[in-house]
């Protein structure tokens, strides 16, 4: 067993785990945060995307022991109480999901794209940056629209805060 400590959605957590525990298993099975999904388990689909120290990573391809000391944000950590994050709101407004399985990963990637590329994203940039996320329902059209709108809303929110 190995001891890990990390911060997940702002809360410190500590646990004794088998070293082969994947970060996604730790999040889902130990912390019971089941918003992060496992689509492929082979590093392709991005359904398991979370933020590790501020950047998007595939939690099915990261060991929980490697995340010791890290700051993790999952889809559950985006909203403020009942108030959805602007990117979540944009997915709702644009019907950016069908079955919803890929959605948590899509939204975590979308927020990461805005963090890296800014709030004004053209369609080409969004599609290119989404290479690590697969939607089995193939609902890309509305996902791309949602990310464009969500990015603008994040930009406006940041502007208002400054």
């Amino acid at each position: 067993m190995a001891k890990v400590s990390m911060t997940v959605n702002g809360k410190p957590v500590t646990a004794d785990i088998d070293p082969r525990t994947l970060l996604v298993q730790f999040i889902r099975e130990h912390l019971h945060l089941t918003g992060t999904h496992v689509g492929c388990d082979t590093s392709q689909c991005g359904a398991c995307t979370v933020h590790m120290d501020g950047v998007a990573v595939k939690s099915c391809t990261t060991l929980a022991v490697t995340a010791d000391g890290a700051n993790i944000t999952t889809i559950e950590g985006l909203a403020h109480g009942a108030q959805l994050h602007p990117m979540q709101e944009a997915f709702r407004e644009n019907h950016g999901l069908q079955c919803g399985f890929c959605t948590p990963g899509m939204i975590m990637s979308a927020v990461d794209i805005v963090n890296r590329k800014g709030a004004n994203l053209d369609e080409h940039t969004i599609r290119h940056e989404l290479e690590g996320n697969i939607c089995r329902c193939t609902g890309y059209h509305n996902i791309v629209k949602a990310i464009g709108d969500g990015a603008r809303a994040m930009g406006a929110q940041k502007h208002a805060a400054e």
Partner: protein, 261 residues
């Protein structure tokens, strides 16, 4: 995945001392999938992610040094790399997808020497030196066939030294599903010396295309390669493309790289 013990190394010396029969864990983006498939089953992992000595990028005006644990995203966005060898930053920015680039490292990629990986082509074309815990290895001596390198058991890559070039570019034809190179060609020019390295195609891994080097040495332009055909013998053929198709792509990618350099 079979069980293993895990040690978070605190330094290069600690990592080398504690690895034993085990394996180093860098970004994990090759090793973890391989362990899930039980193609690798190390009993012990020495995690390099907390080793500060293995991080950082610097340049002394003629040689760019990239430490082994630099993530692909760090190399892609580094102002030091963009100034010294811009084509190398572009190569790193074309590896996998954003999430892969946030975890994968140059050390892990080159140690693994996957025949479809991108960095080996840059190391070979630029004549990089691979620095380890115990010696310095020239790229020409480092890559020794499929997933095979000059590294001894337990030998740890600490850094890569890339001497600047007058011109350098890498052109990649991606396999759209895996994102790896179906064919990738790196072209480097230093004075009258030209080196062309091909990845993705060779059944023995990365190799130099000396016919193209000779043509580009006398006239460094895409048109110098007109009519030059790579041989299909010794190339991979699979469901993604025949050996002949890959041979054709080598010519196309070499021209694109020469034009972009």
């Amino acid at each position: 995945m079979y069980s293993f013990t895990h040690h978070a190394a605190s330094s290069v010396a600690d990592a080398v001392k504690s690895v034993g029969e085990g394996k180093y864990l860098a970004g994990g983006h090759t090793l973890i999938p391989t362990m899930k498939q039980r193609l690798a089953q190390p009993g012990h992992l020495v995690d390099l992610n907390k080793v500060a000595e293995l991080k950082g990028i610097s340049d002394n005006g003629s040689v760019l040094t990239i430490k082994a644990m630099s993530r692909h995203a760090e190399v892609a966005s580094s102002d030091v790399v963009k100034k010294a060898i811009p084509g190398l930053a572009a190569l790193a920015g074309g590896i996998g997808d954003p999430q892969v680039r946030h975890r994968g490292t140059i050390g892990g990629s080159v140690a693994n020497n996957d025949p479809v990986a991108d960095y080996p082509a840059a190391c070979l074309a630029l004549g990089a030196t691979i620095v380890t815990d115990r010696r310095r290895i020239k790229a020409d001596d480092f890559f020794q066939g499929l997933f095979t390198t000059a590294l001894e058991d337990n030998e740890l890559i600490t850094a890569f030294e890339f001497p600047h070039a007058d011109k350098f570019a890498y052109a990649k034809f991606r396999n759209p599903a895996s994102l790896y190179a179906l064919v990738g060609v790196a072209v480097a020019k230093r004075g009258s010396d030209v080196r062309v390295a091909v990845t993705g195609a060779g059944s023995d891994g990365v190799f130099r295309w000396t016919d193209a080097e000779a043509k580009l040495a006398s006239n460094f332009s895409a048109s110098a390669l007109d009519g030059l055909k790579a041989s299909a013998s010794g190339l991979n053929g699979d469901i993604h493309g025949s050996a002949e198709y890959r041979a054709h792509l080598i010519g196309v990618m070499a021209k694109r790289a020469a034009a972009a350099a």
